[in-house]
Symmetry: C2
């Protein structure tokens, strides 16, 4: 890793505490990722991004700030990045995926809060993540109780704009979201000093759609019987999509896909024949949360699709690129974003349709419904999801976990038994 200590110091980070994180990450990454055999060569780019995770991209963000650009930190796939990029600003994902940050979050949040929120707040308050130091403004949303109230604590430390997510999907709720996007546009314009013109927004819509298209192309390879890339690797790429430069990300991911095209032609698979095809559905997996993928893929399974916010919910459906008037473009944003079937909506039956569709498209053998501990939304919705899957005759395993390693062995036993059960069917 290059030396970024001066940069981190300038960002007001807690260097000593941050060193502890820097010490464990390479080992974890080595164990989970570099131990894989026959990875695509183009994964080198993503390996590099992780190896310099708190260096290269933060340095780029700071560079853009020096030129007067603003950086917006976001926590949710509902926040329309298009608006931010259209104002010549940069959006970067900020979710925390490591147990390292959890105790810091627990200093101000209830223990009974999901680890994703605790880690995010901890990363900011304990000054151990450069992205959380760099962001000029944070963008929150009211998608769950835990986040909604956590913003109030973060707001004491940083400027934060909160978008009120409607809790249903009637036409009036869609209109309400359109209005929230307009308010957000005004806020971004005011904060950046840059107008979001229809031309700029058109470009930004294309920019983010290109990222989605690249991810969609990548996921298509997972529908093959021969899997040219592991689920773990795709998860890593999806995680990086949240904060990498979108143009570069799309370009590098398309380059990887070119390599995968070759692999498919040559019938290359990174899994042995008979490996069980697993879908994960449920809560997001923020970097560096690779726990469940690693367990599945070292237990006779391959993760072939994730119906999560770090999976299909992030890239499925494009924003209509044909609109040229700002109001119509914003409606097009609403159309696309409100197609995301998040458990924050009541009801959310569309998600079950998604899962059943994806199960077919990716030809899955079994589904693991994974819930981050204390996420009441996905946990309650799991009741319907698991029932629907049983009715459809698709084997399902419900799992609740957090960022600690305490349950790793127990999970390994349960996942192993589940996959063995699939093999004996």
């Amino acid at each position: 890793m290059a030396d970024y200590r001066q940069m981190w110091k300038d960002l007001g980070m807690d260097l000593e505490l941050h060193d502890q994180l820097c010490e464990v990450l390479p080992t974890a990454f080595g164990d989970v990722y570099l131990s894989q055999e026959d990875r695509p060569e183009s994964m080198d780019y993503y390996n590099f991004v992780v190896s310099e995770i708190h260096g290269v991209r933060p340095a780029e963000l700071i560079e853009s700030q020096k030129k007067g650009g603003k950086v917006f930190g976001t926590f949710c796939v509902f926040v329309p990045d298009e608006i931010i990029f259209a104002a010549d600003a940069i959006a970067t994902g900020l979710c925390g995926g490591s147990q390292f940050w959890v105790p810091g979050g627990e200093k101000v949040l209830p223990t009974n809060t999901c680890p994703l929120i605790k880690a995010s707040v901890g990363a900011r308050l304990e000054k151990t993540c450069p992205f959380f130091r760099i962001a000029d403004m944070f963008v929150g949303e009211t998608t769950c109780d835990g986040k909604k109230k956590a913003w109030e604590i973060l707001a004491e430390d940083v400027p934060i704009h909160v978008m009120d997510m409607p809790q249903m999907k009637r036409q009036k709720d869609l209109d309400a979201w359109t209005n929230e996007i307009s308010i957000f546009k005004n806020k971004v314009e005011e904060f950046t000093g840059n107008e979001v013109t229809s031309e700029k927004l058109s470009q930004a819509i294309k920019l983010i759609n290109d990222k989605r298209r690249a991810l969609k192309r990548l996921y298509e390879f997972r529908k093959n019987e021969n899997l040219p890339i592991s689920g773990k690797d795709v998860l890593l790429i999806s995680q990086i999509a949240f904060y990498d430069d979108p143009t570069r990300f799309a370009s590098m991911t398309n380059k990887l896909c070119d390599e995968l095209d070759e692999r498919v032609k040559n019938n290359i698979s990174v899994f042995t024949a008979g490996t069980k095809r697993i879908m994960l559905t449920g809560t997001p997996m923020a970097i560096p949360n690779w726990k469940l993928h690693h367990i599945v893929e070292t237990s006779g399974g391959a993760v072939v699709v994730e119906e999560t916010c770090t999976g299909t919910r992030y890239f499925e459906n494009l924003v209509d690129e044909t609109k040229t008037i700002i109001d119509e473009q914003i409606e097009a944003l609403t159309d696309r974003y409100m197609k995301i079937n998040c458990a924050c909506f009541t009801p959310n039956t569309g998600r079950i349709d998604d899962i059943l569709r994806l199960a077919k498209e990716y030809n899955v053998d079994g589904i693991i419904d994974v819930n981050l501990k204390f996420c009441n939304l996905y946990d309650t919705e799991g009741y319907f999801v698991e029932r629907a899957l049983k009715e459809a005759g698709i084997p399902v395993l419900g799992i609740e976990t957090d960022y600690t390693d305490q349950d790793a062995e127990q999970l390994r036993t349960r996942v192993g038994a589940f996959i063995e059960m699939l093999s004996n069917k």
Copy 2:
């Protein structure tokens, strides 16, 4: 208790399971309530209501149904009862306050859900509460993740209308709530077949305001140095307010207040001098949840005010009675209801103002911030509440509890130590 077995059977209740509840309730009530000395004579009415809790009022509701009236079951102080009564229907609170119902809820809901929700769902699904059997329609709201998703499960069993609660309090959010009330009015009209005219709504506004005025009058007595009534008794009255006939409730409560007037004149107090004056703030206490009041009032304290949904949030602020046009009346409802400072809003600084104001008005010595386990909203907001109280020099004790008795001794120790600390100040 009179014999209501045939009625319960007709309601499709699980008589055997229900018998178990009927067996324990009188003992609990006797231990907590009838053991008190020098209670106002007018408490006899409320004692009677509790002794016949699953009999008298349910029989009245069934009687009104026989005449073509509808019964709406509600779970939240934001649902405007006025609309329901204006349609010649009856609103009744449905929240569950007993551990008895929790295991039934846990069959379909995550264990990590607050006991109030688990008990409510359990009471319905296990058929052990007549109110849950009688209601023709349930009215839910999106005030928290747990409830929002629980409605989806209840909706498989009963007709349920969900009101989308805005998560903030900007003007546009108030307008959105006005719109939700209008939609609710249409739904109620359609379901009952009765039009909500401005005249009927005027009467209903007056009806519910009268209940609020009676509760306000009752609470005023708790501002006295001599407390003519215990906190436990006031809690019981507040709990009964949620499902009793509003006219009778106001009348009986005013009768009690007449008696309390006499007590005040005669300097009668049900507590000995030096008893510490305690405010409870936080989550609601549905009947028969008397746990914390009982502990406080048998540990040298008197509960003089509850900043909860079963306390001041239920009755403070009246609906403007001067409006005569339906749209203006609905706006008046919004004005009143959106003054409730619930932790479901972000931010919710008004609640801290309320607590500080109430602490003065009721001359409290200390505050217990009580949170029902797994209520993330109030738990997270407790961070601000407890900090504000410390800054204001008001002693505060944070407590998390549920409906079980497992922590009763530990709570008694903590509450006792807190009150002793107040005495030594």
